[in-house]
């Protein structure tokens, strides 16, 4: 035969708890203990409330631009739950739920968006990287972090999160190529939420799935219902197994949806159909999980009311901690430039309120302390 297929494949989609409440017992039974499902539901509700409060803080001028995570809580949470504490989480900015689950204090994320670098001062031993503002750049770091684990002969891995838009950046493709060809323990977790600000996914990827991008690099790839916590946990566990035992990367496309605007600086009504949004509201991961708990008699309205109260108290406390940080000294941004501050920076810091002539160091020094 002069023409014959040399490669054939398909992309699978994993769904365990669907939007109609149907639960696949075969895949789902025993996947997550009930008490963990309850804990994760509580966590998602609390994260949702944080979004609400952050939005209000921004609108009242007490916070800068903030990107709501609303609707995407199940993705990073499912991944963080499925991974070990030593595995790296290399995130973008819609992974609050996973980061908090891992142990990042909530006020850190608040501080970041309040324009305060101390929000990036990751507590020792927490293997997470700071929120990535430059889109599509952090995946390479994950590849390097996974590489380091392999180099040391450990069985840790790095899981990196990014949006559908980010898969258009060159760095993304380089990260995939390195991870696949050097056999590195990395999980590429794409949160396909249909939009990159105002640009629909079709402009980033004209193939039927984003998942199949992984095929081109020779790595395992899978699509998952990103609003289904169970399915996310399953595919990340499988990917982690592959990474730990075979040092192979996996590409996961989680299909989810951004229920809010891109950020508080955006107005999605300018470009997005109200109908599309309404349809996705029905697939809200919180509603779905609540339904699952209800059906098993694990939850009720009084528990929900108590949870709501608890979430409000937790978030209020986090906001208070963020608001109560000491004022930054005006020269703080000199402090962490290098391990040791070089003389030119010391001089600039001393005279920062005046100009570079340094003719009146006395006045300069005085005003620098005001």
């Amino acid at each position: 035969m002069p023409v014959e297929p040399v490669f054939e494949t398909r992309i699978d989609r994993v769904s365990i708890l669907d939007e109609h409440g149907r639960f696949d017992e075969e895949l789902g039974a025993g996947l997550i203990p009930d008490e963990d499902v309850i804990a994760m539901y509580r966590h998602m509700v609390t994260c949702r409330h944080l979004d609400e409060i952050a939005f209000k803080l921004q609108r009242s001028g007490r916070m800068g631009t903030y990107p709501e995570n609303r609707g995407q809580e199940a993705t990073s949470l499912g991944a963080a739950y499925a991974l070990r504490k030593e595995d790296w989480l290399v995130t973008c900015y819609r992974e609050n739920a996973g980061l908090f689950w891992r142990g990042l204090p909530m006020e850190y994320v608040l501080l970041h968006w309040m324009g305060d670098e101390r929000g990036n001062e990751i507590p020792q031993g927490l293997n997470v990287t700071p929120l990535a503002i430059p889109i599509g750049t952090q995946m390479l770091h994950a590849t390097g972090l996974g590489w380091a684990s392999k180099y040391r002969g450990e069985d840790g891995l790095a899981c990196t999160f990014f949006g559908d838009g980010a898969t258009s950046e060159g760095d993304f493709h380089e990260a995939m190529n390195f991870a696949a060809n050097l056999d590195l323990p990395v999980i590429f977790f794409c949160q396909n939420n249909s939009w990159a600000i105002s640009v629909p996914t079709r402009i980033q990827c004209s193939a039927p799935t984003i998942a199949q991008r992984g095929l081109a690099y020779g790595m395992d790839c899978i699509q998952v219902d990103g609003n289904d916590l169970f399915a996310v946990v399953k595919v990340v566990r499988d990917a982690a197994e592959r990474a730990r035992t075979n040092q192979r990367p996996t590409f996961i496309e989680a299909v989810t949806y951004r229920l809010g605007d891109h950020t508080t600086a955006d107005d999605a009504r300018r470009y997005r159909d109200e109908e599309e949004l309404e349809m996705w509201k029905l697939r809200d991961p919180l509603i779905r999980l609540r339904g699952w708990l209800d059906a098993r008699g694990l939850w009720d309205d009084s528990k929900q009311a108590a949870l709501q109260e608890d979430a409000e108290a937790q978030i209020a406390a986090a906001v208070e901690r963020a608001n109560e940080v000491e004022d930054l000294p005006p020269t703080e941004f000199f402090a962490n430039m290098y391990k040791t501050m070089p003389p030119n920076l010391q001089q600039q810091m001393r005279t920062m309120r005046t100009s570079s002539l340094g003719r009146f160091p006395e006045t300069a020094d005085q005003s620098a302390t005001t």
């Binding site: 800068g64 631009t65 970041h112 968006w113 309040m114 324009g115 305060d116 670098e117 503002i133 430059p134 889109i135 599509g136 750049t137 838009g165 980010a166 258009s168 950046e169 060159g170 760095d171 990159a196 600000i197 105002s198 640009v199 402009i203 980033q204 600086a265 955006d266 300018r270 470009y271 930054l328 005006p330 020269t331 703080e332 941004f333 000199f334 430039m337 030119n344 920076l345 600039q348 810091m349 920062m352 309120r353 005046t354 100009s355 570079s356 002539l357 003719r359 009146f360 006045t363 005003s367």
Partner: protein, 322 residues
């Protein structure tokens, strides 16, 4: 004449040039239906259609690299990079290709490309949304770099940039996108690239600035009550040394103000040129009031970083007293 903000003036220039020349097209992230995140391209997608106002994939290198191809083919692409902090991925295409194509091909292939980029701090934006990288692109030969400080100049400079036969980076200071309005002629006019604007005349010292810092300089000059000459470079590369030099020879004193870091900022180059051309006229060393050699801080401290009237005022006192 219409009373317009900087954003509206740029929008008007884009519309008029697209009406005039069907080779002109706009490309970038969110520039289409959304009208750009700052609404600079508002209404253009509707008016000129999706073939001329193109929402691209999210890839800065891709945007500039393909724009180079479009430009080499004779079109007049205007590429938007959403914030100056995201020029990074496009750096290679800008400096390795756009800037060099004419030289490499001895003029056989050229890149008449405009790269529009919101620039600078002062708007409470997140990380990497407040930098001032103009000197980096000035240091790269083969590019022209422009930064207007007023709506009127913005319109005229943008028309010049679009009609320019070489790549032009058109930096738009976001701090003054909507800070004030100005009478902007409806009619077509251009502001030449490479020509500074005398903002106000004075005899005691010469102040040189560009972009949003021009406003800070005006404030400082007013507060000082002194007779200070203020020059807005408008074009950073190639900059108008003739105007600067003529002024400094008269006043004998000079201060350069910019948001970008001190070391190897444009102030360094301007100070050297002043020393070369005005040495015997100088009454004081040239002074620079700039950002610091640090990463631009997040917004809680951005006003500590950016030159303001108080810091410029100190420099005025020092230079005059020298």
């Amino acid at each position: 004449m219409a009373n317009l903000t900087l954003v509206q003036a740029i929008n008007l220039a884009l519309i008029q040039e697209m009406e005039r020349d069907d080779r002109v097209m706009i490309m970038g992230e969110d520039v289409g239906i959304n009208g750009g995140v700052f609404r600079v391209t508002e209404g253009l997608h509707k008016r000129f259609g999706a073939d001329r106002v193109v929402d691209t994939p999210l890839a800065e290198s891709g945007i500039i690299g393909t724009a180079i191809g479009l430009a080499m083919a004779g079109l007049r692409p205007i590429a938007e990079i959403q914030f100056e902090g995201f020029l990074g991925p496009a750096y290679d295409q800008i400096c390795t290709h756009a800037a060099r194509m004419r030289t490499r091909t001895r003029g056989a292939l050229t890149v008449p490309l405009v790269i529009r980029v919101p620039v600078g701090g002062g708007i409470h934006a997140p990380e990497l949304h407040s930098d001032s990288p103009e000197a980096i692109y000035t240091h790269n030969p083969g590019l022209k770099v422009v930064m207007p400080s007023s709506p009127r100049d913005a319109k005229g400079l943008l028309l010049s940039a679009i009609r320019d036969p070489d790549p032009v980076i058109f930096f738009e200071p976001k701090r003054i996108y909507r800070a004030f309005r100005e009478e902007v002629p409806e009619d077509e006019y251009t502001v030449p690239i490479g020509k500074a604007r005398m903002v106000r005349e004075g005899s005691e010292l010469t102040m040189v600035s560009w972009g949003a810092s021009v406003i800070q300089c005006m404030n400082a000059i007013e507060q000082s009550g002194r007779d200070i000459e203020l020059i807005d470079l408008r074009t950073i590369s190639p900059f108008d040394m003739e105007t600067v030099s003529e002024s400094v020879r008269r006043t004998g004193r000079a201060i350069v103000v910019h948001e970008a870091p001190l070391s190897c900022g444009l102030g360094s180059e301007i100070a050297s040129r002043i020393m070369e051309e005005c040495f015997l006229h100088l009454e004081a060393p040239v002074q620079r009031v700039t950002g610091f050699d640090t990463i631009m801080p997040y917004y809680k401290l951005e006003l500590e970083y950016l030159p303001d009237a108080a810091r410029i005022g100190q420099a005025i006192d020092e230079v005059v007293a020298y």
